[in-house]
Structures are given as structure tokens and as C-alpha cells.
């Protein structure tokens, strides 16, 4: 064995020098063919150890500034860089071929010298031995003929835990390019996506915790990731029921089963599989409130609730959904949701001419929903838009999103449900996306040109979007000019006469490519059911599996088959059994958060809540922006952009439209929200308005109990209980000022969770 320590070398030369040393001075390299497996390969052996020990994590040496002068590439995606970093140690003690155990690398790793990261392993562990052998072999760097990992496999890939089963051991194998198959169970890194359901140990043992449900373990080895999916049933699955419901969607897919029946069966199959009992169907009145809020962003009126409850016809549910889809509020509410996703921003441009463009784009989106433009055409219109905001309002997306990087990220997140941001700077740590994928997609947008506009205070606006003749995008590391290429697709031909955006739209809407339909189907399911089959809706990746893949496939299939008919998709979802369930948990489904065994309530969103308050109190909100008032009766769901001032909307989480992420709309509770309800002038003025509901009720000739009943149906879509009626009556009678008494009563009902939530 050859002994040497690495010389002091300037970074940059090191890689080459080390490579030359490794290549020209055969250290302990064995002749090819003989004991090839004894040689430690840098990329496939050493780097995974650094990943496993956490050395190259984003919180440690893997961050862009390194840690205490030692920097590695994040999660080892650049082995050449890592080799340079390791051998380029200017004190020459980081690596010692003669006595690896005295090298700083191993001493730090085992904590025998002070190490900010603490002890990462113990002498003699598999990881330790690999680093030791690698040093003994002369610290060879990555070489062109090194084997690479071609596949990573986890066994088992899925497991259904038996009632008395508390653990499940995983075995991980890496298939290498030279044909070898290595057991890397002890070298891989494991991460549970739901530690409340099951944890995973460093050795790949999955151990169930308190909760039941579905979980996944992401397994990482080198630059590969793989997945284990575990199901921990609530009760032992009912085999007979499962058999009745079909083993897979394919079993019945060919038959006459379509639409709602198929969705219901696939959801029920999941319940059977998990041993969960669904809650019963909800009350009819609650259903009207729920579906009106979800389709129209609006509370139903007393008359609407009563009409539905009294309707005895068997198809009344379908007719209710149809009538809601035909209302203008549907287009306004969904138009606003999409203006959020498409980042139609007004803020920062108050002095410019952007605001008209923002309003034009908002109106354009709303019209698309009103005339039920098929979703593929909607997306195509935006992606391929050229012209000015006046001639083609869809061009505003290219102005408001603005940079090539943001086009890539917003496009991916909005239409493919993929977060590709990571890949701008490094390989995506939990997906296959590389920098090449990122910049290939960037090349699609490289020729988007902007001209004209008003160069006022900050941003030139009212620009014309056009396709420039040139606009190449280079790989930031290799400098290679990249052909426009969609994520996971084939490169588009480069031609001056072909708009790569048109190619992208074609690829996106190709029937053979379900990703667009799947993302939309999942987004809409999440809108109505409170949680996506893939959750969050815009974080689709191989390591974030759908909770019910067959359900998502069926929704996608139905949506594609309907010609991307959004209203048809909404009908399908709203008429499904899962959507109609009560939100009250039962003993049979307590703890269920993923299988839709009950309706998951959520707080009304900012705009919907403000409109609901205005509606029930019978006092509209006055909105104005830039010194001009919106027409009387303008509702919060009608507002064109996020910059129309409203403290109420801000504190209740109106999104800032700075990214395509639906997570921007926050429903997290805040003190300011409740102060807004308790003591804002806005709410108090609404309650005290002479035309408002409290004053009207105070003067009403109707009996006290009739008035209280009206109040409850208006707010909650239900009658008061005897007890509630008594409480309210007692309060009203004990008060000398009836108007003030009604103001207090109305307020105390507005502030209940029953009002604040859709349930």
C-alpha cells in the first residue's frame, strides 16, 4: 500500500492533481476484473457515506457557505467538488492515507476531536470502514469508469401492518452500472413523512407510533431516492368488503361504472383497507351551506336553505350543484382563486398603469370560468399569450411573473404541481429534477420578450409580450446551451419560427400526458375535500405519494375524458359520498386525517368570511383603491387584486400573490384576526348601521323566537336548539336597549366556530 498525505494545493488544481495522481500512480487499485468490488469508488461509495452521516446536509457543510471553512456540495450532487474539498485541506490533516484513524475526517466523525456536529458514527461502523479504506487506497476521486448507481430498490415497497405488528424492516439495494447489486441498507438515509404514524431508524426499521393511517419513508442513497409506503390500519381490514369493492380500479374500469359511483367505490375501498368507518351523511341544510360556500364563496340565504330542504325530488343534489355553477359568484370566486395562483399582483404599482392590466387579467380569468372554457385551453391561452394587456389580458401573466426563473417555478407549481425551485442551484433532493431539467424548461421561456410600457416610478408596465428571435439559456455549471425541454419530456426542436411555448402547451395538453389533468383534479379535490390526494397540492414528487392513487387516477381520467370540463369535475366531486359526509368524527374514524372518512372543516377564507359577515349583517363593505371607490355592493371575492386595502382581509390571510403556491393563503390563527372581530371599527360599524340586521330585528314585529330562529338559519343554516333559544330570549328580555341587545347577540353568533368554519 502506498502511503502519502495530500499536498497543499490551490483549489481548482486539486481535482485535476488528485485525478492525475489517482490515475497515473496506481495506488492499491487492483487490476480490472479481479476483486473489483474491493476498490472504493468515490461517487458511489464515499459520497453516500457523507450523506448518511449528515456531513453534506443543508444545515451543515452542505450549505452554500459551508461550515467552519469546510464545504461540501449539498447532498453530494457534485462529487468532483466534494473530492476537491476533501483532499484540498490546506492543513493536510483532514485525510491521512498512512493512518486514516488519525485523520481529522474520521476523528471529527467519531467525535474524538471537538466537532460542532458532534459524533456522527463509531469506529468500525460500515461508514467508518469505507472512509478508512478509501484513504488507505489513496483517496481516489471520481473517475469516468467508476460504476454509477442506476437504480435504488427498497424491499418491501409497501406494507400493510398487521394488528400486532409494530415494526417493519426495510432492505435497500443499489443496482450499479457494472452489474453489481449492493446491499446498502446500512448506508442509506431514511426519512419518515409522518413521524406521528411511524418513525424509521438509521438501520431502516420502520416502527409504528401512536396514530393510524398511511405514511411513507423516503430512502436516499447517493443521488437516488426511493420510497417505502406503510399503511397502519385503524382496525383489521374487512377482507370480504375489500373483495366486494374490487382489488383495483382496473377491475371495474372497463365496465359501465363511471363518474360518481367509481369515485365512491375507490374512496370506500380505501376505508375498507384502513379499517375506517365513514361518518354518516351530513344534514341537508349543512350540505347547502357547505356546497354554496365551496362553489360560490357565498353563504346561502334562508330561502335557499329552505328550498333545498323542502325539495322532495331525488335529483335535488345535482340540481343544486348545477344551479350554483350557473351563478356569477362561481366564476368570481374561482376567478379570484386563479388570480391568486397566477400571481395577478397589484401591489407596488399604485402609481403606474399596471392596475388596469391587473383588472383586465382578473376579468379575463373570471370570464373563462363563467363560460366554462376547457382547462387545457385556459392554460394554453396563458402560456402562449402574446400582445398587450388591452388586446390579450392573458399576457399579464408574463408581466407579473416576469423573470425566466419565475416562469419556470410558477409554471411548474401552478400547472404540474411540482416545486422545482431547488433544482435552480442543485439537484432536487427528493426528486429526479436536475439543474439540466430546470434550465431546459427555462429555455422554453428564454425568448419571451417585453417591450414598450410606461417606465414610471419602478416598473415599466403595460408592456407588449412578444416572441424574440433569440434567447438562449445556458446550463449554469457546464455552460452548455440547452434546448427547450419540458420536465420529464423530450427536447423541442429549436427554430426561429417555432414558439417553444406553443410546443410546451402541446406537450402539456397531450392526452398521453396526464400531469396537467392530474394536478388540476387533485387541486379541485383538495378545494372541496380540504386535503389533496397528493398533499400539499403543489408538491407532487415520487417521494410524496398520493394517499389513494386509484382515486387520483380516476379523477384524472374523468377530467381528461370530459374534455377538461372544470364544471363537470366539480359536479363529480360535489356529488361524491365523501363530500357529503358529516364532519363529526365517530369512534370508527377518530384520528383519520387522510382517507376522507369525514368532512374536514376549515375556516372560511378571508374574502369569503368578510362577504359572509356583510351578507348576514346586511351591510356591504365599501372598498376603494387609489382614491377611487369600487361600485357599491362590490364584494371581497370580486376584488381584482390583493392590493385593495383591507385590514380584515390582510389579517385573515389574503395571499400576497408573490408565488404560485396555494400555501400563500394562510389559515393559521392570529391574534389580529380575533381583535378584528372583537373590537374593529369595521365590524362595529356594520353591526351599528341603521340599515343593518340588528336594527331591523330590533324593530321587527315578529315574535322574539321567530327572530332568533331567523338569525340562526341565516348564520348557521339551522334552527336554534331549545337551549339556545332560551339563552337568546333570556338575554334579549333582560336588556333594555333592544338594538344593542341584537348587536351583541349577532356578534356572539358571528364569532362562533360554527360561523367561522365550513363544516
Amino acid at each position: 500500500m502506498r502511503m502519502r498525505t495530500v499536498m497543499r494545493t490551490k483549489p481548482g488544481v486539486v481535482g485535476l492533481a488528485a485525478w492525475l495522481l489517482a490515475a497515473l500512480v496506481p495506488v492499491s487499485r487492483v487490476p480490472a476484473g479481479e476483486r473489483a468490488d474491493d476498490r472504493v469508488a468515490f461517487s458511489t461509495d464515499v459520497v453516500p457515506v457523507l450523506t448518511r452521516l449528515g456531513c453534506n446536509g443543508g444545515g451543515c457543510h452542505g450549505k452554500s457557505t459551508g461550515q467552519n471553512g469546510f464545504r461540501l456540495s449539498l447532498l453530494g450532487y457534485e462529487p468532483e467538488f466534494d473530492h476537491e474539498a476533501l483532499v484540498g485541506d490546506d492543513r493536510g490533516r483532514r485525510l491521512l492515507a498512512a493512518s486514516p484513524e488519525s485523520s481529522l475526517l474520521l476523528q471529527k466523525a467519531v467525535g474524538s476531536v471537538p466537532h460542532g456536529g458532534g459524533r456522527r458514527t463509531v469506529p468500525g461502523s460500515e461508514s467508518y470502514q469505507i472512509l478508512e479504506r478509501w484513504m488507505q487506497q489513496g483517496m481516489p476521486g471520481p473517475r469516468p469508469d467508476d460504476p454509477t448507481v442506476v437504480a435504488l430498490e427498497v424491499s418491501p415497497r409497501q406494507a400493510l401492518f398487521a394488528a400486532d405488528q409494530s415494526t417493519q424492516a426495510l432492505q435497500v439495494t443499489a443496482r450499479l452500472s457494472d452489474g453489481r447489486v449492493q446491499d446498502v441498507t446500512r448506508l442509506a438515509v431514511y426519512q419518515s413523512n409522518d413521524p406521528e404514524i411511524a418513525e424509521v431508524s438509521e438501520t431502516g426499521e420502520v416502527r409504528r407510533q401512536g396514530r393510524s393511517g398511511q405514511m411513507a419513508v423516503m430512502v436516499r442513497y447517493g443521488d437516488h431516492v426511493s420510497l417505502f409506503e406503510g399503511t397502519i390500519p385503524f382496525r383489521t381490514p374487512d377482507a370480504r368488503r375489500l373483495a366486494e369493492l374490487g382489488e383495483s380500479s382496473a377491475a371495474v374500469a372497463g365496465g359501465e361504472e363511471t363518474g360518481v359511483a367509481r369515485i365512491d367505490r375507490l374512496v370506500a375501498r380505501q376505508w375498507a383497507r384502513l379499517g375506517v368507518e365513514p361518518s354518516p351523511l351530513t344534514e341537508e341544510a349543512e350540505f347547502v351551506r357547505r356546497v354554496t360556500l365551496d362553489i360560490c364563496g357565498t353563504l346561502p340565504t334562508v330561502a335557499e336553505v329552505q328550498a333545498y330542504v323542502q325539495d322532495a325530488s331525488p335529483d335535488k343534489k345535482r340540481r343544486l350543484v348545477d344551479s350554483l355553477l350557473a351563478r356569477p359568484e362561481y366564476a368570481r370566486f374561482f376567478g379570484q382563486k386563479w388570480a391568486d395562483i397566477l400571481q395577478n399582483r397589484g401591489r407596488g404599482y399604485s402609481t403606474s398603469r399596471q392596475r388596469p392590466g391587473t383588472a383586465l387579467f382578473s376579468a379575463w380569468i373570471r370570464d373563462c370560468f363563467a363560460r366554462n372554457l376547457p382547462y387545457d385551453q385556459f392554460v394554453t391561452s396563458i402560456l402562449t399569450a402574446s400582445g398587450s394587456q388591452e388586446t390579450n389580458p392573458a399576457t399579464v401573466w408574463y408581466r407579473t411573473v416576469r423573470t425566466t426563473e419565475n416562469y419556470v417555478e410558477s409554471f411548474s407549481q401552478a400547472f404540474l404541481g411540482v416545486r422545482v425551485q431547488c433544482a435552480q442551484c442543485h439537484h432536487h433532493p427528493a426528486e429526479r429534477w436536475s439543474q439540466g431539467d430546470y434550465y431546459g424548461l427555462a429555455a422554453v421561456f428564454g425568448r419571451v420578450g417585453r417591450k414598450g410600457g410606461f417606465a414610471d416610478a419602478e416598473v415599466p408596465t403595460s408592456e407588449t409580450i412578444y416572441l424574440a428571435d433569440h434567447g438562449e439559456v445556458k446550463h449554469p455549471r457546464t455552460g452548455e446551451v440547452l434546448a427547450p425541454r419540458p420536465l420529464g419530456g423530450e427536447a423541442f426542436p429549436i427554430s426561429k419560427y417555432v414558439d417553444p411555448r406553443v410546443s410546451l402547451a402541446r406537450w402539456l395538453t397531450d392526452p398521453a400526458n396526464p400531469q396537467l389533468a392530474r394536478t388540476m383534479a387533485n387541486r379541485m379535490w383538495a378545494h372541496f375535500l380540504g386535503r389533496g390526494v397528493i398533499h400539499p397540492v403543489d408538491d407532487s414528487r415520487s417521494t410524496n405519494p398520493p394517499s389513494n392513487p386509484e382515486l387520483l387516477d380516476a379523477l384524472t381520467h374523468e377530467f381528461q375524458q370530459s374534455g377538461y370540463d372544470i364544471q363537470q369535475l366539480i359536479r363529480l366531486i360535489c356529488l361524491s359520498r365523501a363530500y357529503g359526509l358529516s364532519s363529526l368524527p365517530t369512534d370508527g374514524n377518530r384520528g383519520d386525517l387522510q382517507s376522507y372518512a369525514r368532512f374536514y372543516p376549515r375556516r372560511l377564507s378571508a374574502e369569503v368570511l368578510l362577504d359572509a359577515i356583510s351578507q348576514v349583517v346586511e351591510v356591504p363593505t365599501a372598498f376603494s383603491a387609489g382614491g377611487a371607490a369600487f361600485p357599491e355592493g362590490t364584494r371581497a371575492i370580486d376584488l381584482p387584486d390583493e392590493a385593495v386595502p383591507s385590514n380584515f382581509l390582510d389579517v385573515f390571510g389574503r395571499p400576497a400573490r408573490s408565488s404560485a403556491c396555494e400555501c400563500e393563503r394562510v389559515d393559521s390563527p392570529a391574534l389580529g384576526q380575533m381583535l378584528e372581530l372583537v373590537s374593529s371599527a369595521e365590524i362595529q360599524e356594520k353591526l351599528a348601521n341603521p340599515q343593518g340586521l340588528p336594527q331591523r330585528l330590533a324593530k321587527s314585529p315578529a315574535s322574539q323566537s321567530e327572530r332568533v330562529r331567523e338569525l340562526f338559519v341565516t348564520l348557521f343554516a339551522r334552527s336554534p336548539s331549545t337551549e339556545e333559544l332560551a339563552t337568546a330570549s333570556e338575554f334579549l328580555e333582560g336588556n333594555t336597549d333592544p338594538a344593542e341587545a341584537y348587536r351583541s347577540l349577532v356578534w356572539s353568533l358571528l364569532a362562533t366556530n360554527e360561523f367561522l368554519f365550513n363544516h
Binding site: 450549505k63 423573470t403 416545486r419 372543516p601 375556516r603 384576526q673 362595529q684 364569532a751 363544516h759
Partner: protein, 465 residues
């Protein structure tokens, strides 16, 4: 640190100046010995931290303030945000030897710390410079208000002219998220009179819950009342109380319908909001009228002075980060007209805050930080103003255990670039977080799920340790 430093210098010019400083409860004492005097008088003893003061308060008035402060010290920061960019060369990094077009109008004056000088407009701050330090070598690479404000508020460059949306949470939001409030009914993060206009003082992906609570009123105005805290016209406390009682009876939706925590959170905040409005504790914290006229005068009867006094009351009651937005310092034209109006009030406000915190035994737990998005050009322009300058500017830090009386880093002889010890905005934030006891390896997931460090490569300024 500040305290040891202070005790070593009993005969320093501050006490020599012999100002009789009015104290709480109408006591007066020579400034330097105020705490000792308080000790003799049985007031909160030397060494009592803010948490102790809070705890004592809570015990004396158990109804609202009792809560989880326990023995843990409540640390806090009070920020003077000089939006628009205050001139370093006219305040804490003067260049008396430079030609007049660099030097400007103001002469430096000595402070209590030998070798440390400040502008002649700051005689009061000069007397407390043993408890404040100046970092003279802060730099970043942008010269435009919005991106620079983002840089200083969050530690990173982010927005551009084309896309000026906030991208990272402000340090105030990070502090609110990591430390919470020292008393459950207090808002952890407060902006006086309101948050800066770009939105860079917000929580971004930490959530709206960590945006600053905006006072939305001028604490110096006679009718000072906090909207949503003071009740609006026509709403009496009795009404709110009866509404609260009714709400309790009607708010019966089963709590187990929501497993996401939103409902539980709303329940907590409902109670808190009702307590804030109907109870006395929070209103008292915002009520400046209980302060003596003499102390209010010392702080100064202007926005800065009364804001600083309010900030002290808020951290005392449990707030953790209070940012005073001191208006606009963007003096491109006639800089001395602007500075004449702003420097004197800032002198009163900041100096009195230092003394007042010290008198109350709170200075070791409360950091004082003054900064803007950048400084101003060393050369006076053709309009008698100075323009944006991020190549080298100053921030002021003190309290919270940070060393006082230090000068860290240096600029070139006539201003301009950093001569010694370049310091990044992230270093400044790391210093703040470190002083507040926030681990520097704290990460939060951004909107894409990526774990993002609160300080990146920032390192605490060890000279202030």
C-alpha cells in the same frame, strides 16, 4: 457586559455632568447610581432581569399577566428603524478631517467613552455611549430602497425592481416565532406607529401570525389610542363583556371536528383578544398616561420619544420585538434641513431609553438596535444632499448583554468603503439572535418546503460579545 463596563467607570463624564434624572414614582437620583438608590428603596434589585420584573408584576397583579414566564429570562429587542437611510457620516462616523463637501455641517463631540465621538446633535446619546456600540463597517450590494430594506430586515437580497414581493421573514417575525411573547396576552412583535411600507417587516412564510401588530396611531398624540384595542365609538366594555358571555354559550361546535389546530388556535386568540380589550393588562401597557410627565418629557414629546417610551412599556409587559419606524431619512436634497428636524428627537428618544431601561434593571435583557436599509454617500451632492450608500454604513447596537462603548470596523478616511472588518447584514442579525438566545442553526421551511436558515453565513460580531 454593559453593566460591568458601567460599574468600572463610576466617575465618568455622565455622572460628572450631574444630570438629575427623574425616575419612576417621582424619585430622582443621579443617573449613575439610580439602580443602587432603587435597591435601597426596595425597588427591583440590581440584577433583576426583565423576566423577574415581569414575574413580580404578574404576582402583584395575578389576574392577567400570570403565565409561562417562569424563571426563564424574557429577552427582547427595541429597534429604531431609520427608513430611507440615515447618514452615518453626520451621526456616528464623522470625518472632521475630510474636505467640507465630505465633512458636512456637523462637528463631532466627545462621549463618555474616550475616543468615541458622535455628532454634536447627539449630546444625550454621547452620555450613554458606554452602553451603546457602533458598527461602522456594515455593507451589502444594493443601493435601492426596497431590495436594501429586504436585505437589512431579512439578511438576504431578494426582491428586485421587477418583483418586489417580500421573500423571507423579517428578523422581528423570526424573533416572534422563536421566542413568542413573555406574557400570553401580549403581542410578541409590535410596530410603532405602523410597519414599514414595503412589507419587509412581515412574517412571509412563517405566517401572518408573525406579522407585526401595528399600533396604527401616534403615541405622541393627545388622543393616542390603539385601534382595535381601544374600543370603537359606540361600543362599551360592558357590551363586549356580555358578548363574551354569550359567545361562551353559543360557541359549542365540537372541538374534535378540527384536527389541524386552527380551531384550537382561534379559541385561544378569541379569549386573548377579549381579555386584551376588556382586561386592564394590555391596555395598561399601551397607556402612556401612567408615566410621569417628567419622564415623558425626557423621552421627548414627539413621535420618536413617546414611541420609545411605549416600546419600553411593551417589552416590560411581555412583547419581544418592538420596532419604531422613525419616518423617512432619504435626504437627497438639503440634508441638513431634514437632519435638524430628526436628529434631536432621536437623541432624546434613544438616550432616554438607554437610561430608563438601565434604571429598571432591564438593559441586560433588552437589546437596542438602530439601523436603516443603508447609509448615505460620503460626498455631498449638488442638491446639498447625500444619496444612497450601501458600501459602508453604520448601525448602533447596545443592551441585551452586548458590550457598550465599542467601535467595530472602520470606514476609509473620507468615508466611502470599508477599511476594516467588513460586516454583513447577516452578521448583524446573528448578533441580535445570539443576544436574544436564539440558536443560529434555526431553520424554517419556505413556501417550497426548503429549510431556510435564519442567518445563513452570518456570525455574531464577537467584538460585542
Amino acid at each position: 457586559m454593559a453593566r460591568e463596563h458601567l460599574e468600572e467607570l463610576p466617575g465618568s463624564p455622565a455622572s460628572a455632568a450631574g444630570t438629575e434624572r427623574p425616575l419612576v414614582h417621582g424619585l430622582t437620583a443621579p443617573g449613575r447610581f439610580s439602580r443602587r438608590r432603587l435597591l435601597e428603596l426596595g425597588a427591583p434589585a440590581l440584577g433583576l432581569g426583565l423576566a423577574d420584573v415581569l414575574r413580580l408584576r404578574a404576582e402583584a397583579n395575578p389576574a392577567p399577566a400570570a403565565g409561562g414566564t417562569g424563571a426563564k429570562r424574557h429577552r427582547a429587542v427595541i429597534v429604531f428603524w431609520t427608513h430611507g437611510g440615515m447618514s452615518q457620516q453626520d451621526t456616528v462616523d464623522l470625518k472632521p478631517e475630510a474636505p467640507s463637501e465630505y465633512r458636512g455641517n456637523y462637528r463631532p463631540i466627545d462621549t463618555v467613552v474616550p475616543g468615541v465621538q458622535v455628532t454634536e446633535k447627539w449630546p444625550r446619546i454621547a452620555r450613554v455611549m458606554d452602553r451603546l456600540s457602533v458598527v461602522r463597517s456594515v455593507q451589502h450590494e444594493n443601493g435601492i430602497h426596497a431590495p436594501s430594506a429586504h436585505w437589512m430586515q431579512t439578511g438576504v437580497f431578494g426582491p428586485t425592481l421587477a418583483r418586489n414581493a417580500p421573500q423571507k421573514p423579517s428578523f422581528g417575525s423570526v424573533i416572534a416565532r422563536t421566542l413568542g411573547a413573555g406574557a400570553p396576552q401580549m403581542p410578541p412583535y409590535v410596530a410603532i406607529p405602523k410597519a414599514e411600507a414595503f412589507g419587509y417587516q412581515g412574517g412571509v412564510y412563517l405566517g401572518a401570525a408573525y406579522n407585526p401588530f401595528e399600533v396604527n396611531a401616534d403615541p405622541n398624540s393627545k388622543e393616542f389610542r390603539v385601534p382595535n384595542l381601544a374600543l370603537p365609538k359606540g361600543l362599551e366594555v360592558e357590551s363586549v363583556q356580555s358578548r363574551a358571555r354569550l359567545l361562551k354559550k353559543f360557541d359549542t361546535l365540537r372541538r374534535d371536528v378540527d384536527a389541524s389546530g386552527v380551531l384550537a388556535g382561534l379559541d385561544t386568540f378569541k379569549t386573548q383578544a377579549l381579555d386584551m380589550v376588556t382586561g386592564e393588562a394590555v391596555k395598561k401597557a399601551f397607556d402612556l398616561s401612567t408615566e410621569s410627565d417628567s419622564l415623558r418629557d425626557r423621552y421627548g414629546r414627539h413621535l420618536y420619544g413617546q414611541s420609545a417610551l411605549l416600546a419600553r412599556r411593551l417589552v416590560e409587559a411581555g412583547s419581544t420585538c418592538v420596532t419604531i419606524n422613525t419616518g423617512y431619512w432619504d435626504h437627497h436634497d438639503n440634508i441638513y434641513t431634514g437632519l435638524e428636524e430628526q436628529l434631536v428627537p432621536l437623541d432624546h428618544a434613544m438616550a432616554t431609553l438607554v437610561e430608563d431601561l438601565d434604571d429598571r434593571g432591564m438593559l441586560d435583557d433588552v437589546v437596542i438596535y438602530s439601523a436603516g436599509e443603508f447609509g448615505r454617500t460620503p460626498l455631498i451632492n449638488g442638491h446639498a444632499g447625500r444619496d444612497h450608500w450601501s458600501n459602508c454604513f453604520s448601525v448602533i447596537l447596545g443592551g441585551g448583554g452586548l458590550a457598550g462603548g465599542r467601535l467595530v470596523g472602520a470606514s476609509e478616511p473620507w468615508g466611502g468603503k470599508v477599511r476594516e472588518r467588513p460586516t454583513t447584514p447577516q452578521d448583524v442579525l446573528a448578533t441580535l439572535y445570539h443576544a436574544l438566545g436564539i440558536p443560529l442553526d434555526t431553520h424554517f421551511n419556505d413556501a417550497s418546503g426548503r429549510p431556510t436558515s435564519i442567518v445563513g453565513a452570518g456570525q455574531p460580531i464577537h467584538e460585542l460579545g
